[in-house]
């Protein structure tokens, strides 16, 4: 398959802490095609963000990584830090959740947006500046010549979010990893973010959306992956997924959204340190059986993947 952009194979991340080892990502395997919007959904604290950081190779220093990440045919998980710097921002770029925390408060917005252009496209300061103005204008930040010289605190939240997208796309990356772009954002702003992302996606950029917002994922994505307790438990095209989720957790997750009656998932979220044996969802699962105490296989059905004994 030549149109595969990102291929993640058997990636695991563990992080030692004082309370014990956190199994943040367990054997994640998936791929994202060129121009595709791929959503990774799941509860907060289920290890989704760590997976994003693992792809960017920006994990906490004490995290243990294993597995393989390929991007555009290049095995980026084997690159040196120096080579990886040429990949970050250039081929894969990340957009953080809170623009006020993610932008440097002491540096002009224009300078920050221009940095990837100077670092990756070899642009002079002047060229990068005029390109930055174009980019700001493209994302409705006007007048760009004035806004370019302002600091993050002078921007409104929505405007700064757009500036952050301008910064993430400054060097024309092929893949953008957006971590919880709609966390703590009202409906109106959410719509704006969706519009900006669609604008970027329409130019051919692929997305990995990491979100707990099922509605947002549904509006944006081509394909969906569901993450539970550090494991991807289901991957499917959007339409069939929302029509008929296969994994009991996916079903429970969809039943928990307001439009479907807001049924809570019974039982507490499992610990990421002492993970449940066998299927990690079995303590909360309505269909649990004895076999669920053994690790379930990943089953392929009609181009979908599901990690559950029911389909084995």
């Amino acid at each position: 398959m030549s149109d595969v952009l990102l291929k993640v194979s058997d990636v695991s991340v563990t992080i030692p802490t004082e309370q014990g080892t956190v199994h943040a990502v367990d054997n994640a395997t998936f791929s994202i095609n060129k121009h595709e919007v791929f959503s990774l959904i799941g509860e907060s604290g289920s290890g989704k963000s760590i997976l994003g950081q693992a792809i960017m190779r920006l994990l906490p220093l004490n995290a243990m990584f294993s597995g393989k990440v390929e991007l555009g045919g290049m095995e980026i998980s084997a690159l040196s830090e120096k080579e990886m710097q040429k990949v970050r921002g250039k081929i894969v770029s990340s957009i953080a959740q809170n623009p006020y925390l993610a932008m440097n408060p002491g540096i002009r917005v224009g300078t920050q947006v221009a940095e990837p252009m100077q670092a990756h496209l070899g642009m002079s300061k002047e060229d990068a500046k005029s390109r930055t103005c174009q980019a700001l204008k493209y994302f409705d930040i006007t007048p760009p010549e004035v806004r370019e010289r302002e600091y993050p605190f002078q921007y409104s939240g929505g405007m700064l979010q757009r500036a952050m997208v301008a910064m993430g796309t400054a060097a024309n990356p092929e893949l953008i990893i957006a971590d919880e772009p709609t966390k703590g954002v009202d409906v109106l702003k959410k719509r704006n973010i969706a519009a900006i992302f669609q604008k970027v996606a329409s130019k051919g950029c692929a997305f990995l959306l990491i979100t707990h917002d099922v509605g947002f994922a549904r509006a944006m994505s081509d394909r969906i992956a569901v993450n539970y307790c550090g494991q991807i438990i289901e991957i499917a095209e959007k339409e069939p997924f929302f029509k008929e989720p296969l994994h009991p957790y996916s079903q429970a997750l969809l039943d928990a959204v307001p439009e479907r009656g807001m049924h809570p998932i019974p039982g507490p979220s499992p610990s990421m340190i002492e993970v449940p044996e066998g299927c990690r969802f079995h303590p909360r699962c309505p269909n649990k059986a004895d076999r669920c105490l053994k690790n379930p296989p990943v089953v392929e059905i009609n181009g979908r993947c599901v990690r559950c004994w029911m389909y084995a």
Binding site: L58, E81, Q85, G89, A96, A102, P105, G106, A119, H120
Partner: protein
Amino acid sequence: MLNEYFIRRVLYLVPVLIFISFMSFSLIYIAPGDPAEIMMTSPSGGYDEAAVEAFRIAHGLDQPFYIQYLNWIKNAAVGDFGYSYMSEQSVFETVLNAFENTLKLSVLALAIALVIAIPLGVVSALKHNTIVDDACRFGALLGVSIPNFWQAYLMIIFFSVIIHWLPASGFGHGTDISYMIMPAAVLGTGSAAVMVRMIRSSMLDVMGKEYIQTARGKGLSEKIVIIRHALKNALVPVITVIGLSIGFLLNGSVVVETIFGWSGIGNLVVDSILSHDYMMVQGSVLFVAVIFLLINFFVDLVYVWANPEIRYDKTS
């Protein structure tokens, strides 16, 4: 906006200055001992009433307190701090002269402090909880704990007595840097020790911020991330400490100046107090206070420059 801030900040200085001048004048006035009697006392112990009275009238000491204060402040406003009771020399010129010496020492001391503190603080933060960090922190703890006078004598023993590289004390011709190295090093390492700890904790704080991760995510090299994205923000809270250090350095260190025979402002103040040279004490205390005020004012301006949020805030 900035101009308005600047003007308001200058206006704040006025009441503070008036208060300081009043304090420095009256503190000495209420101190025990009558300068006229002390000045006119012969070595054998007795004094002549008439001569004392004449001294009082000649120096305006017979006037009521507030008249004396107003006269003093009126003259001080145009740079006339009176004349020393002892040497009969202009207080202003003497103070200025001593301050110039202290200034030379302070500039060198501050340069030494910054050159030591910034790299050590940054390295300590970047390698935190490693042996490098432990070594830096131990060094900083030593620097804070070792008394100035002891460090001064150790340096004299080593650099002057044993290897004969530097003069043990004295002033040279004022331009001879070899006389300044040891006193400036003693003062500088003391200041550096405080700054290292500040820079380390401030840098650690900044390196944990999300925008550092964003900068890395853009593919910037670690060097650019540290220098452009972290260091500038980390130094903002350190400006206060640097400003305080400058203030203390410029006010002269009596201990260091005495050991190295450096005729700076610290020595001048102490000598004048011991000899009841009131005009000199009042003049130098006021001078030092004004310098401190100006440094603080300057630090505020640097703060504004370093922190755009203050610079552009219309309400402050």
